[in-house]
Symmetry: C2
Subunit: 339 residues, 2 copies
């Protein structure tokens, strides 16, 4: 029996031995066969057929039919590779589990991950949604949001604030009873932009034009985060809040101070607002946890100022956002409590 | 850096070398790193890092960021395995293509392919739908048909007759303008049964109860085909034709004579019916091609008789279906032309 070098190379690449490839291929080509027939047709030594069959059975590529002598059947490539892909998924999950145990917590070097494959880009966004803790900002056309529906809901359920910027009032009724959601109307934007906890940015170019292979990237470079943060700050100025759905008054999280301050501005008259933040003391450079009551705020977007005043045991401090310089503290981890 | 034996074994199983696993793992654990850092952290000899990186890049597991020195980034397991699964799909397609070229046409030994995975069972049905040429019979609950919609449409487009047995009048408007479709009302059946060109049978048990892992099988054993054929013949007797959608009058294909004869019975008054069949001469055992005009038929379902009379150049012959004994010819490849 002939087997093309191509088939052999392809399957070897997936971790199959030469005997495994020959056996599987023989069964595909000749149909159900006995061990003897497999040996004759493939040229594999008879005494090696059984262990080869055993490992192909373990991988779900081959099965057997009770009869005497035993007959082996190959699952078609569609079925066999469906199994194989499920195994790949299992391995992926195992790998992620193992990784969680050993992942180095210290600050990573920043990176850029590029792709032109839309599926991969979407997967990147989902992944970032899943690991976010404070706030996710999505500037996205409606159609694109559909792809993310489950992950957005899960983020909301976990207490992550979702801040959407989108073209017009879209049907978000599915999202409004779950967590803390803010929707702002923004002009049509053909790119998707996502910011996650102020740590990661994902851009998908020209998504509004439904291209086949949109250039996309995820980045953790501070320069890119800064650029995107600036963009969203501009978007914020030009946008109207069209939906505010607060379902967790005692746990309103933000990484963006201008979003937090906007909420404070709208609710400080009618509520007591408390805050818990993890922030960098701009004098000492230390990371501190602060708790207290919000007693004031400043918003001067044109001047690039947005902060709030936190009254703590040790005094009143000005809390600024990412890249803050004028304030006492810089934070991207804000938790507000409305009572 | 520690790497668990488990991770190493899992990834080796997918065809990765030890150095590839170590490098990928190091980048996952430590984040973006230079070649020197990879070598230090993983213990891989520095002069082996570059070729390892190159092969990981080729597999889409690693990418690089322009900087000096160069920094390498790992795609997360989700993204990397998404790529990997696409590669697996490519390999599957290549394999199917190669297989088509060399598949042995002679009669295969019969086989049984079993699974308890519903996805795999559905994939089996889709695959059989895709390779059918004459007629597909599906005894199926409505919900299950939804999963097969695209493949059913494609079969209809290719000229394959689709004969459905289902619980009640369901919305089949999507299917009615494409090819030759016959729908019969059958009592609720909790199993799925598919027969394809009389060559393959697929059963999925208890599908009506939506079990998680329904025992399912595909079989090419004549005994199983016979049993299923008998079952469908019973179903035919108890069923009312509730929809007949003929969109290819000049190419009405069947493998089931009782379906063909039923059509002849209903249309012989108002149409001329011609037939082209590939059939076994029950006297000589030879396979022959016959063409002619349909001039009569016999249906005595209770007696187990259904056949039609074909007037050819060489005389009038009685054409019977699968397992025919009384007739002159046995066929599962019938093409009728209505004019």
């Amino acid at each position: 029996m002939e087997i093309s070098e191509k088939v052999l190379a392809m399957l070897t690449r997936l971790g199959f031995t030469k005997y495994e490839v020959l056996t599987y291929w023989t069964l595909l080509v000749y149909g159900p066969s006995t061990a003897k027939e497999i040996s004759e047709r493939s040229g594999i030594p008879y005494n090696r057929v059984y262990d080869t069959i055993a490992s192909l059975k373990a991988r779900g590529f081959v099965s057997e039919v009770e009869s005497s002598p035993r007959v082996y059947v190959a699952f078609s490539p569609s079925i066999a590779f469906l199994k194989f892909k499920k195994e790949v998924d299992d391995i992926k999950r195992q790998l992620e589990k193992e990784l969680k145990k050993v992942k180095v917590k210290e600050e990573e070097r920043p990176g850029i991950w590029r792709t032109k494959d839309l599926d991969e880009a979407v997967e990147m966004v989902k992944e970032s949604l899943d690991i976010s803790e404070y706030e996710v900002i999505l500037v996205a056309p409606e159609k694109f949001l559909e792809k993310l529906e489950d992950n957005i809901k899960n983020a909301l359920k976990k207490g992550v604030t979702v801040s959407l910027y989108t073209e017009e009032r879209i049907d978000l009724s599915d999202f409004t009873k779950i967590g803390n959601l803010f929707v702002r109307k923004f002009h049509k934007l053909n790119h998707f932009i996502g910011m996650f906890d102020g740590r990661e940015v994902i851009d998908i170019q020209n998504i509004g034009f439904r291209p086949r292979n949109p250039p996309s990237f995820k980045a953790t470079y501070p320069e890119i985060i800064f650029s995107q943060y600036s963009f969203i700050r501009e978007a914020f100025k030009e946008s109207t809040l069209i939906l505010e759905s607060i379902n967790r008054k005692d746990d309103l999280r933000f990484f963006t101070t201008f979003h937090a301050v906007d909420l404070i501005r709208r609710h400080l008259n009618d509520s007591n607002i408390y805050a818990e933040i993890i922030a960098k003391n701009l004098t000492t450079g230390e990371i501190e946890e602060l708790r207290g009551r919000v007693v004031g705020y400043t918003v001067a977007m044109e001047e690039g100022i947005d902060n709030f005043d936190l009254e703590t045991d040790k005094g009143i401090f000005k809390i600024g956002g990412m890249f803050a310089v004028l304030e006492d503290y810089e934070t991207t981890r804000i938790r507000l409590i409305l009572t």
